[in-house]
Amino acid sequence: MQKRIVIPFGPQHPVLPEPIHLDLVLEDERVVDAIPSIGYLHRGLEKLVDKREFPEYVYVIERTCGICSFIHGLSYCQAVEEMMKIEVPERALFLRTIGSEYSRLHSHLLTLGCLADGMGFENLFMGFWRVRERVLNRMEESLGGRVIQGTCKVGGVRKDMDGEMLERMKAELDVLDKEMKEMTGVLLRDDAVKYRMKGIGVLPKKDAFELGAVGPTGRGSGVRIDLRERGYAAYGKIGFEPVLETAGDCYARTAVRCRELLLSTRIIRQCIGKIPDGPIETKVTGNPNGEYASRVEQPRGEAVHYAKGDGGRYLKRFRIRTPTFANIPSLVHMLKGYELADVPVIIMSIDPCISCTER
């Protein structure tokens, strides 16, 4: 009988962008079990709903996470708008879609850079973040902020983008495409990188569905769940196909993210082509009454924002179920049977966003 030892991983670790703790049970160098422990970034944002009126609560929700902040704000506004039966003007829906796709570009570039850094490939990490700077500059110019945008509000958006800015964005998308293809080419075709990712952290399709994997973690195993197909915001008017891979290992999940980068630039081009003229907001009167669960596709998967109101200015309950929260059981399953040196690559391949998980 081999001896078992327990090694703590995190909360401080060079590969982790955010603190999560895992107790790894090892037999020699193989991981036999993993016990997650979260709670290092808990700020009790759901409890603040008693203290901030519903129009101001959007600023709190946006600051749940720095990487996926735009889509959190969008989802909150959708939940309240559905409860109050508000019709958002079409131009605002298209602007929200453009903002979401830029947010997805910046998040995937960040993740791919951190994954390269987790393997020790710092040059590629810097290369990805250099491309990300272009995206952040465009977001600051058009939406108002690099990381926290403050654009979505109940009833529409706060800032408009004029025709000249949209033309500049369209011209820059070609440059972005070229740079992204170069970087993702290194990640997907270099032999040394492939050796560290192929066959590692395999998640079969049946397990992925049962454990509730969402986003690129699930789509890398062949589970077709992409909430953009539901058609919220302006996605109903744009044609696209979700990206799927079947291998279920770290390489497949990374390949899904690389292909989604190019899909995002295609969606932004379509939006810029189809955006109509018109107002960008509607007036909001009254208070939310009822309940609704708004679901959106964040860069990491499906996020659910459940809101419940009883007719007052303050919401009664607000709950966020983020994609990393749903992917942690899959992570624990994925770690079993692999060596200690593969653990950082496996954890970074599910793209943990712990500040979302602990709101």
């Binding site: 901030r52 101001e56 609560y57 600023y59 709190v60 600051r63 490939f121 040059n123 590629l124 290369g127 250099r130 700077e133 500059n137 600051e140 110019e141 058009s142 939406l143 108002g144 902020g145 926290i148 403050g150 706060r158 800032k159 170069e182 970087m183 080419g185 290194v186 075709r189 270099d190 032999d191 040394a192």
Partner: protein, 130 residues
């Protein structure tokens, strides 16, 4: 064998100029809609207190007796909520950032220079100017 794919990009980077900027020696890059800091035009401000009620960070404090409008720069997240709700449009969002400081507190307090504030007696003459 496919190795050294990154070598071409790495050599190109060595030969070109850095992507970073020498801040604060050179000023920071900013755009028209950059959210830098909140400023108040004290000639127009009527000290109604709407910005204080709406601020999600509790950063603004309005004192009608002292006729001051105070903002805690460390608490302010430049969300722009106060700028939107101001009824006389005296608040505006500047697009350069607050300078950093080594003090533990950063509260900016401004005295009102508006002689006609509804609900308050006009300020005594010697306290007036700007």
């Amino acid at each position: 064998m496919s190795l050294f794919r990154m070598a071409k990009t790495a050599l190109k980077n060595l030969a070109s100029k850095p992507a970073t900027q020498m801040y604060p020696a050179k000023p920071a890059r900013k755009f028209k809609s950059t959210r830098g800091r909140v400023e108040n035009d004290m000639d127009k401000c009527i000290l109604c207190g709407l910005c204080q009620r709406k601020c999600p960070c509790v950063a603004i404090r309005v004192d009608r007796d002292e006729r001051t409008w105070e903002i805690d720069r460390f608490r302010c997240v430049t969300c722009g909520c106060c700028v939107e709700v101001c009824p006389v449009k005296s608040l505006r969002m500047e697009n350069d950032y607050t300078k950093s400081t080594t003090e533990p507190k950063m509260k900016d307090s401004y005295k009102s220079t508006n002689p006609n504030i509804p609900g308050l007696k006009p300020a005594p003459q010697k306290k007036a100017k700007a």
